[in-house]
Symmetry: C2
Subunit: 578 residues, 2 copies
């Protein structure tokens, strides 16, 4: 569908993305403004998220250039801003912890490998058109996962924020470790960190209103407020320089950033690295893809555009490969950054291209600015950003609407906090799929009778119907498969036990669009068991494809009749109905 939207008659060569073929000058101005605004937001975020991933901060800047170009070439969203994001960075740190120490060259090369693997996996899914995988996670699970991750990130960042040593992969471990080292608090770091957090939080909360109140247009006010993080970062760098906070008061800073653009990296990984990182890379890529598609979709809807999940897979896959090529780590579409890009008026991925160019300029000339940036301020940036991801509305709605969804939310969030990100997402997926299987395993089954004087048969519990002692008619209102075939047989036995005169059992399969092997075998067993007790099994209203498959596999040979076309014709053929 998106392809159709995008390919319209236009000027540029056909191998260019559709948006580029018909690019107009007005768009360039809007994209330019958006690109600038996003870059100002991106610089501190990229440094911060690299730190969160356990990598040198400048690696975050490396991961913020080529991926934007790659996404522009392959993606389908006009406004998604790709780059390092909080949750993927947390997952990167968690995936690499067992294999290498943070700060070692091995750690960096494994982070690059994660991006390569994730990029290839997304590419393959995209080429196979498997965008469907995004649907494996329910909204409750995604919300619970993001909320749990945000809290885990915030707790983890208390360590650089307060300048104390702490370690652990779960919320409890981190908090205990923080408490144990509470006497090692560094006053200057704590003061700087808390002040930065206060400023960031209040600018996020009040600055836009304040600017609007002094007469700035509300859209401009919103955008200016988004620049606050950069201003606070620069102020903190100034404070470190003026008061020598780093050398005199022990405030940890970013340190030397290699100037210049990243060199292209290519190296051949070991086989055991590939096998042990395959699954973590897939988790990071999948979660990133799901998050990214939902952001892209919600922004696209506002402008009446559409997102093609398969193009997104290819775009994000290319982005990750590009990140790896330039020595970066896993990237995806970021929530906050994409919203800013959209609000700043981005019209096409050209905004991202401009961002990438501006980021290159920063790397070529301005890295010195950030060398005395306190880590505590980066931690404050992260904490304020991720607390915005905490979503308590979804569990509230879920609780009102469907307790199973609320349980999936809570299980996922608590799983992330208590057992770590991988376990959390595993729990979430298991709870989603488990709930669904559990529901499907308790199918609705109705015993039918005839509405007097008609050809219609209805549930005997809800209608006044005529039944006959020798004929039991049951309608199964769910696909038949491994998780419910035992329940169906149990229910049939229970109904037969209540009606000892039964000689014919008619199963109405009007709602069954699939019967799997386990259920087909169960039906055959039922047929044989009933036969041994003198009861004949009949089927009615079997859907075409279901019948074809059963017949093709020779599964219906034992039945006395072909399945009946309707319950009415079955009841007539089975005799006693007038």
């Amino acid at each position: 569908m998106t392809e159709a939207n995008r390919v319209v008659p236009a000027g540029g060569p056909r191998w260019l993305p559709a948006w580029l073929q018909q690019y107009r000058r007005e768009q360039a101005i809007q994209d330019g403004i958006a690109g600038l605004v996003v870059t100002v937001l991106l610089v501190p975020q990229s440094l911060a998220y690299a730190m969160l991933a356990g990598l040198p901060p400048h690696v975050g800047m490396y991961a913020s250039i080529l991926p934007l170009l790659a996404y522009a070439a392959f993606g389908s969203s006009m406004t998604l801003a790709v780059g390092p994001v909080a949750v993927a960075s947390l997952m990167t740190a968690s995936a690499l912890a067992p294999f290498a120490a943070q700060g070692s060259p091995e750690y960096l090369s494994l982070a690059i490998l994660l991006a390569v693997l994730g990029g290839l996996q997304l590419m393959v899914l995209g080429i196979l058109r498997l965008g469907f995988v995004a649907n494996l996670l329910s909204h409750s699970v995604i919300s619970g996962f993001v909320t749990g991750s945000a809290l885990l990130i915030a707790i983890g960042q208390l360590k650089p924020l307060l300048g104390v040593p702490a370690q652990g992969h779960t919320a409890v471990e981190l908090l205990l470790s923080l408490l144990a080292s509470f006497q090692k608090l560094q006053p200057a770091t704590v003061a700087l960190g808390l002040l930065a957090m206060l400023l960031l939080w209040s600018s996020r909360r009040f600055l836009a209103d304040l600017l609007a109140w002094i007469g700035v247009s509300s859209r401009t006010a919103d955008l200016l407020a988004k620049l606050a993080p950069m201003i606070i970062v620069l102020l903190s760098v100034g404070a470190v320089a003026v008061w020598q906070l780093d050398s005199r008061h022990g405030v940890a800073v970013v340190g030397t950033i290699p100037q210049g653009l990243p060199s292209l990296q290519l190296s051949w990984p070991a086989r055991e690295q590939l096998t042990s990182l395959f699954l973590p890379a897939f988790m990071i890529a999948l979660v990133g893809f799901v998050e990214s598609v939902s952001v892209a979709q919600s922004l696209a809807i506002k402008r009446g555009q559409r997102i093609d999940p398969n193009a997104e897979l290819r775009g994000l896959g290319a982005g990750n490969l590009a990140s790896a090529l330039s020595g970066g780590f896993p990237v995806t579409g970021g929530f906050a950054r994409s919203v800013v890009n959209f609000a700043a008026g981005a019209q096409t991925p050209m905004a991202g291209v401009i961002s990438a160019a501006l980021m290159s300029l920063v790397l070529l000339g301005l890295t010195g600015l950030f060398e005395r940036l306190p880590l505590a301020v980066l931690a404050a940036t992260i904490i304020v950003a991720v607390l915005g991801l905490v979503d308590l509305a979804t569990p509230r709605h879920a609780w009102q609407y469907d307790r199973a969804d609320a349980l999936a939310w809570a299980g996922t969030a608590l799983g992330v906090l208590g057992l770590g990100v991988e376990a959390g997402i595993g729990i979430g997926v298991a709870l989603s799929a488990g709930t669904f299987l559990w529901r499907a395993s308790r199918p609705h089954i109705a015993v039918l009778g005839r509405l007097a004087g008609t050809e219609h048969f209805r549930n005997e519990q809800r209608f006044q119907v005529e039944t006959q002692p020798h004929l039991l008619i049951m309608r199964i209102d769910e696909n038949l498969f491994f998780a419910n075939s035992a329940a169906v047989l149990d229910r049939i036995e229970a109904e037969l036990a209540k009606r000892p005169a039964t000689r014919d059992l008619l199963l109405v399969l009007s709602s069954v669009s699939h019967i799997d092997l386990t259920a087909a075998e169960a039906l055959e067993r039922l047929h044989a068991d009933l036969g041994a007790r003198g009861i004949v099994l009949h089927l009615a209203e079997v859907k075409g494809p279901v019948l074809d498959r059963l017949k093709h596999a020779g599964r219906l040979r034992g039945l006395a009749h072909e399945p009946f076309v309707s319950v009415h014709s079955a009841a007539q053929a089975l005799g006693q109905h007038p």
Copy 2:
């Protein structure tokens, strides 16, 4: 249901199991014969499966006494034979490998802990009446798992069979390791092992027919053939003794077996042992339960009895706790042994009680007989037993009937062989649930029109129907949930794109018995999106419980109308139909 079957007016006190309250003398004779036959089979099997689990062989005998009594008290099958089995033993070895060396006292105490944990988990599931968990595994997955495990066990047993050192947890590792140590073959061990295997295999294959041919009744012939393993075991012990194969030719034998009954064991495990063994214990317990229930069920059906999955959970749970108490390891209902028990005429769990008594006598007085039993002969016993579990009929049927089931079989079997038992079962469950989600994510959706001159509305692709340009009627034939809500929205958009004159969209939910939160939110978004484009969303034939839930959570406030009771009334109310 089973409870109802079992509790009939009878003589014994009410706290006894129902079968014991009405126990008769004829039953005692039949149970006695079955108990004796099973014991003769059980002695070599229990030694062999303990070796397979990496434990001293006599531990297998310990695990073959109390569990039978516990199951007799709590289980619901009249013929299931509980004790050490091949697959659970393999899983035990695989679960413990990372934590302790085979043969260490720690290893044994961890094996006991596995039985405790699994026993408690089964008990809790049984008390909560969650017998439903047996349905989480489709028939294809169980068959693939058992087949893969059987092959993996057989390959692993080549090591003691040939008397060469080898190690590894996957089929490939084991085979490579065997090839590498091929020059270390011990001629006497190889000869003994292969001879035992040949005898076991030919007695299994031909002995019953041979005995029948010389005039033994076919039932007796079958039973006598089952005694062959014990005879071969005793012959091999004789051969070792006569030719001094152990001391002169390096043939490994069982070695000293402590005489007497096991002492009761109770010790308190460390917290990290509990957490790391919790999941493996659950896998072993679950797989054992599923296998056991399916054996029990297939035997019960032959005699018109019924199995209560919840009683089975309690019976197997008690069996595992009893095994742990006597220093044993995880047990469950065995396939071959239960079939023999049934064929030998067992009428009640008294057969198991008699088996337990006979096994105690063996432990008290006859252990000396088995001390010079060659490990190669035990390996031959295992290999011949497990090759009988290899099931190639199921994948063949699956291939004919449903490729997805065949894929689940192959994925599970290859996963077990290539990645180990835990990974294999994980892959199987994921493939089962994934296939089901994938199917449900592509719901059948029909565009409806009116059969001319009637009040009936049918799929426009299959019937000659009347439609109207302003009214689009779509029927969704599947529950709405996270995995298919995106697909439903896509299909709706596609139909709307084909019918630009649409002003009213009527969704018919007659087949929808559940809408989860993700799908409910998607419907709300659809309503809002359509509204913005001047299209009104209507619902019809919403089931009572679905409607209640949507209303309770305030999800339908935005709709123009209450949902219509029928498509006909909706079409009338929406105007243009005559």
